[in-house]
C-alpha cells in the first residue's frame, strides 16, 4: 500500500500532533478509473479521520458510521470528476461536511428529543450519553459535551482547522467563506469550548 505518514502542519504544536495520510497520486488516478483496490486504499487511509470528524460534527454521533459510508459512496461515484489540481483530502472533507450538514438538518427537523437552551441559544445533544459514541473517560465526555454546545457552523470550521489541520486558505477554498470570517468562527468556537469546560471543571470541584 502506497501510503505515507507525515506530521500535519498545524497552527500550533501539540504534544501528540495529528497524523496526516498522504496517498500516492497514482492510487487516486487508479481509483478514478474504477480500480477497487485503489479505492480500498483510500478508504483505509481516511476511514478513521472521517469517523473522527463525523462523530464530532453530527448532532447524533450514532449516525457517524452511516455518514462516513455515504461519503465514500459519493466519493467513489464522483471520482471521475475529481480534478487533480485540487487537494484530495480537501475534496473528501468537503463531501463529508456536506453529508454531515444534511444529516444535522434532517436530525433537527425530525427529532423531538433535542432540548433548546434559552440562555445560550445552542442545542444539547442527548445522544452523547451513549457510551459507544464517545471515548472513554470523564474528560473525554466533558469535551464532547462542550463541543456539542458549539453551533454547527462554527464547529465545522473549528474541526477542519484545529483537528483536521486544514489551513485557513484551504478552508476558504472549500467553503467559500472569507478567512476573516473563518477565524472569527473558530474564535467563537474556542470561547464556547473554554466556557463550557471551565464550567464543567468548577462543577466537578
Amino acid at each position: 500500500m502506497t501510503v505515507r505518514r507525515g506530521t500535519f502542519l498545524s497552527s500550533f504544536p501539540l504534544q501528540q500532533p495529528a497524523q496526516a495520510v498522504v496517498l500516492d497520486s497514482r492510487t487516486i488516478s487508479r481509483a478514478k478509473l474504477g480500480d477497487i483496490d485503489a479505492f480500498t486504499q483510500i478508504v483505509e487511509a481516511y476511514h478513521g479521520r472521517c469517523l473522527r470528524f463525523a462523530r464530532s460534527m453530527l448532532r447524533n454521533p450514532d449516525d457517524a458510521e452511516d455518514m462516513v459510508q455515504e461519503t465514500f459512496i459519493r466519493l467513489y461515484r464522483a471520482l471521475p470528476r475529481y480534478e487533480e489540481r485540487q487537494r484530495f483530502e480537501s475534496w473528501l472533507f468537503q463531501i463529508l461536511g456536506n453529508c454531515c450538514r444534511t444529516a444535522n438538518t434532517a436530525f433537527q427537523r425530525h427529532t423531538s428529543r433535542t432540548a433548546f437552551d434559552d440562555e445560550t441559544g445552542v442545542e444539547r445533544v442527548p445522544s452523547l450519553d451513549d457510551p459507544s459514541a464517545q471515548f472513554d473517560g470523564e474528560w473525554s465526555e466533558d469535551v464532547r459535551r462542550a463541543l456539542a454546545a458549539v453551533p454547527d457552523y462554527n464547529r465545522e470550521i473549528f474541526l477542519l482547522h484545529y483537528i483536521e489541520g486544514f489551513p485557513y486558505e484551504e478552508i476558504e477554498r472549500m467553503t467559500g467563506v472569507k478567512q476573516s470570517a473563518l477565524k472569527m468562527r473558530v474564535k467563537r468556537a474556542c470561547e464556547v469550548l473554554r466556557a463550557r469546560l471551565a464550567g464543567a471543571r468548577s462543577a466537578d470541584d
Partner: protein, 204 residues
C-alpha cells in the same frame, strides 16, 4: 479573546479531539462493497439516461383506470340527478368512451417527451490519445462513451441518447484529465464542489 495557543483548557480539548477512533477492518470492507455496488446502479438524484427509455405501462393503465372510475362516478351521479330523465345506452357509452381519451393522450405525450434524444458532443483536442464524454447521463463512467477521432485528427465526437433536461458533463482526456467544454456554460456541483459543463437537452 480566547486564543487556543494560550488557553491550556482548549489545547487539552483539541488534543483529546485529535484522537483517531479505532476502525474496524470489516467496516472498511463494508464501505468498499457498498460503494462498488452503488456505482453499478444510478442513485436517486442521477437521471437514468443511456439506453432504451424505461417503459411504464402501469402509468398508462392507471390513467385508464382513473378515467374509467371518473366516468363511472359521473355516470352514477348523472343518473341519480336525472333519475326521471331517460338515459339511453348510447349516451352512457359516449360518456365512458370520451373521458379517458385526453388522459391517455397526455400519458402518451409524457412518455414520448421523456424519451432520450440523440445528442452530439464534439471536442477539439489534437494531442489527446483517448477522449470520452462523461456526465450524469452515463454515471461519469469514462469507459462508457468513448469518442471517435475525425479523419484530420483534430476533433473528437460521439452521439449519445440523452433524456431531455439539464445535464452536467465533461470530457475525460487520456483517462486522467477531466476537461470542461469551452463552448458550454459551467456550473458548480454544490454537493461535490467541482465544476462541470452544462447542456440543456430538449425537443425543438
Amino acid at each position: 479573546m480566547t486564543d487556543a495557543r494560550r488557553d491550556p483548557l482548549v489545547r487539552r480539548a483539541i488534543e483529546e479531539l485529535r484522537k483517531v477512533p479505532p476502525v474496524d477492518a470489516s467496516a472498511t470492507q463494508r464501505i468498499v462493497a457498498a460503494a462498488a455496488a452503488a456505482r453499478l446502479v444510478p442513485s436517486d438524484d442521477e437521471p437514468p439516461v443511456l439506453g432504451p427509455p424505461r417503459r411504464r405501462p402501469l402509468r398508462v393503465w392507471s390513467m385508464v383506470g382513473l378515467a374509467a372510475a371518473a366516468a363511472f362516478v359521473g355516470f352514477v351521479v348523472r343518473g341519480a340527478w336525472s333519475s326521471n330523465q331517460s338515459v339511453t345506452s348510447d349516451t352512457a357509452v359516449r360518456t365512458i368512451a370520451s373521458t379517458p381519451a385526453p388522459l391517455i393522450r397526455a400519458a402518451a405525450t409524457n412518455e414520448r417527451e421523456s424519451m432520450p434524444i440523440p445528442q452530439q458532443f464534439v471536442f477539439n483536442n489534437g494531442s489527446a490519445h483517448r477522449v470520452a464524454v462523461v456526465g450524469d447521463f452515463n454515471r461519469w463512467n469514462p469507459a462508457s462513451t468513448p469518442m471517435t477521432r475525425s479523419p484530420d485528427g483534430q476533433l473528437w465526437s460521439v452521439t449519445v441518447p440523452v433524456a431531455p433536461g439539464r445535464h452536467t458533463y465533461g470530457y475525460m482526456v487520456d483517462d486522467t484529465l477531466l476537461v470542461l467544454d469551452p463552448r458550454s456554460p459551467k456550473a458548480r456541483d454544490p454537493d461535490l464542489g467541482v465544476d462541470a459543463s452544462v447542456v440543456i437537452v430538449g425537443r425543438p
